[in-house]
Amino acid sequence: MIHLVKRPQPSRVWTAVTPLLAVVLTMIVGGIMFAALGKPPLEAIRTIFWDPLFHPQFAAYSRPQLLVKAGPLILIAIGLSIGFRAGIWNIGAEGQYIMGAITGAAVGLAFYPLDSFIVFPLMVIAGALGGWAWGMIPALLKVKFGTNEILVSLMLVYVAEAWLASVSSGLLKNPEGRGFPGSRNFQQYDAGANTEVIAGTGMHWGVVAAFVAVIFAYVLLTRHIRGFHIRLTGEAPRAARFAGVNPGRVVIFCLGLSGALAGMAGLFEVSGPAGQITIDFNSGYGFTAIIVAFLGRLHPVGILLAGLLMALTYIGGELAQLMLGLPGASIQLFQGMLLFFLLATDVFTNYRLQFGQGETA
């Protein structure tokens, strides 16, 4: 018989090893899956993890893409992780991301064609406020009426998608777009464009914001009393109240912060890589960021690395579809495996295996 025995305290070794182990296990099982699909497994793994960075032909295009994809994932995941640490489950970052993109873009389009340095910062602020406001809905409902933030924030994603469809063919439609849905393109409006900070690297302002968010979250969680109270709320809610933490305020802070960061990510995306508001503007970053947050163990530095890894599997996955003809669903399965194995191996951080006869009492 095999038993799980709780460790007296979490193992430091396992905390560090589990993400690596999860990646290795994903490669092995993913390889088996690719082989079963009749594709060369080693080549597929290499195409996903190696070629995007070092392929002589494609790397020049795909390397900058790494930061372009990782930026919003990290920015959103940092916000989510702070809430998750407090036991507040914002599942609706996708909706806050969309609303941030809409409000930010709306401000930018309102100034069009004004050419002033002030336009872009105003758009960023408006994007953050849009995401924040969308996050406040589940926050206030939870504090005032005790609703479940998981359900409310998730449902609001679909409301946000309806807004997106509405404004892209209505309020924000490009008046010069010959009737096609979609807003003006920010890449043709310099004052409102999210440009690369260092040309050719993919590092736009959103990536800079993501790095700043990582540092901010690290300092908050490890050095500041507010971060300590957030962790305490997640670990032991009663002890947090005893320490003097107001649980309602933590809910409002966490949902507001994660909403604002997701909203900013949406604005950076719409004014940069995406360029314009369209019906299918959102691409699931808000949901993938949940995986990134957990893959990074809800730790800011871990999330930075996890965001880069996740972006790599995105780009590599696209490459593998293109070059090896792997079905898109198998790439999603591959990414799902990563989270699955992480959560599975995570058990060993707090438990160890014991073989032999166990106690019943």
Binding site: Q9, R223, I225, R226, F228, A236, A239, F242, Q354
Partner: protein, 507 residues
């Protein structure tokens, strides 16, 4: 000598890393009231679990009535005539007494017959109980009767009772003892587990004392002093708590007509509680568990916010303030539940020190935490209160209950509070550590702080308190000086026998 009922020979049980029982041997005679005495972790629970069939021994044997006895499970133990009343009741509040009793029986009779049997047994043994009443409306003492009657209906030869008096008032204890004496006179042996020495001396005729899993002594408790028993339990002599003479000073904490609803659905509301505590004084608040102790602590710590004037600290109304503001001013508290309330289980001791000491010990500047300062403060607490742990980085849940309790109390005491409120300060702590904690509380009062000790341990309250009051259904009794207070008076303050009639026992 009585005829032997249960003979235990060389019972040994080891868990990974700890030997719970090592070569334990003793015997219980027919109709004997036998005490099993020991500190927390001495192996009492493991031993009775082996007798009741919940745990299988690694080695050793038992004989019941002369034949080999090795119960596979509690069913087998019950079938052989062993019954047990647990410390924590397993009753369904929404069901009636009879229904609860039926649920615990192997072959329950028809409801009408069962009700008749319950009435018979309850009258015979002086445990009046109406089988049709709903358990939810019963007092703790009456609930215990349900458990006892459930056992008695099986006509046991051996009745095991695990800490039965921790939920009873002195009057209820006396009723229970009369029942137990009658059972004993009829030939039922009783294995009585407790750490309350005076109780054992008045009830039991033999005591087996366990220390670190081994039998250290079997004696007649009636011929042994409580102090000798305590030293046998602890294995060393320890300093008795001493009081420093002091004159009470100004009123530091005043509570005026405090009424508050419990945040917990099953909690007890506080009703019109008033008291004052002066500098240098210890106020002891007793009462049976669940009569508003948790709520009173929460209202004083700031977890329950009330009208400002209901709680006054040094003349300032603080009832409307949260925990942080009260703590900064010097009104500190330590709740009963260590893990999850007083401390976060998965956080390190240093982080748990930050939990209450951040503001008062200057461990943060502009909200930024001073981790090295926090570690220093944690080490001070560990050293001053003899907390056994590898170091300040250890997770709170890795500490034993007693050690964590020392840390939790130490964390507050080391912050030099002006007023300290503690709930069950020595619950689950060994005798030597309990004495050290009580001494620290008295020392604090000696230096001019006002101390409120909420406890269910009357001996503890008599030892540390200057004045005593009891909580009963959320109301506070009159406050009386401890000096000259009799057990009878204390019992009446705690609510007496909760309207249970004292039965006529013809033993």
């Amino acid at each position: 000598m009585r005829e032997t009922l249960l003979e235990i020979k060389g019972l040994t049980k080891a868990y990974p890393g700890v030997i719970a029982n090592s070569d334990v041997s003793f015997s219980i005679g027919r109709g004997e009231v036998h005490a099993l005495l020991g500190e927390n972790g001495a192996g009492k629970s493991t031993l009775v679990k082996m007798i009741y069939g919940l745990v299988k021994p690694d080695s050793g044997s038992m004989r019941l009535n002369g034949s080999a006895f090795a119960p596979q499970d509690p069913h087998a133990a019950r079938a052989s005539g062993v019954a047990m009343v647990f410390q924590h009741f397993s009753l369904f509040e929404a069901l009636s007494v009879a229904e609860n009793v039926a649920l615990g029986m192997e072959n329950p009779p028809k409801p009408r017959d069962l009700a008749r049997q319950i009435r018979e047994v309850s009258e015979t043994y002086g445990l009046p109980l109406d089988p049709d009443r709903t358990v939810g409306g019963l007092s703790a003492g009456e609930r215990q009767r349900v458990e006892i009657i459930r056992c008695l209906l099986q006509e046991p030869k051996l009745l095991i009772m695990d800490e039965p008096t921790s939920v009873l008032t002195p009057q209820e204890v006396e009723i229970l003892f009369q029942t137990l004496r009658k059972l004993s006179a009829e030939g039922t042996a009783i294995l009585y587990i407790s750490h309350k020495l005076e109780e054992i001396r008045s009830l039991c005729e033999t005591a087996t004392i366990l220390r670190l899993g081994k039998v250290v002594e079997t004696c007649d408790p009636r011929d042994t002093t409580a102090r000798q028993l305590a030293e046998l339990m602890v294995g060393a002599s320890f300093d008795a708590v001493t009081r420093e003479a002091r004159a009470p000073g100004a009123v530091r904490l005043a509570v005026h007509n405090l009424s508050a609803r419990s945040p917990n659905a099953f909690g007890t509301a506080l009703k019109d509680v008033s008291f004052e505590v002066r500098a240098g004084e210890v106020l002891g608040i007793g009462g049976v568990a669940g009569n508003g102790q948790d709520e009173l602590l929460a209202a004083l710590s700031g977890e329950i916010v009330t009208r400002p004037e209901m709680v006054e600290f040094d003349g300032t109304p603080v009832g409307g303030q949260g925990p942080e503001a009260r703590r900064t001013a010097g009104l500190l508290s330590a709740p009963e539940e260590r893990l999850g309330h007083a401390a976060a289980p998965d956080m390190s001791l240093t982080e748990n020190a930050i939990l209450t000491a951040a503001a008062r010990e200057g461990l943060m500047k502009n909200g930024f935490l001073d981790w090295s300062g926090a570690r220093g403060f944690t080490e001070k607490v560990i050293k001053a209160f003899d907390v056994r742990t590898p170091g300040p980085g250890t997770a709170a849940r890795a500490l034993s209950g007693g050690n964590l309790q020392k840390f939790v109390i130490g964390r507050e005491v080391m912050q030099r509070p002006e007023v300290l409120v503690v709930n069950q300060p020595t619950w689950g702590v060994d005798a030597a550590a309990a004495a050290a904690i009580r001494q620290a509380l008295l020392h604090l009062a000696g230096e001019g702080a006002a101390v409120v000790v909420i406890s269910q341990d009357l001996d503890e309250l008599m030892e540390v308190a200057d004045r005593f009051a009891a909580l009963n259904e959320g109301r506070l009794s009159d406050i009386r000086p401890v000096q000259g207070l009799t057990v009878e008076q204390i019992g009446l303050m705690m609510g007496g026998a909760h309207d249970m009639e004292v039965a006529h026992v013809e033993a």
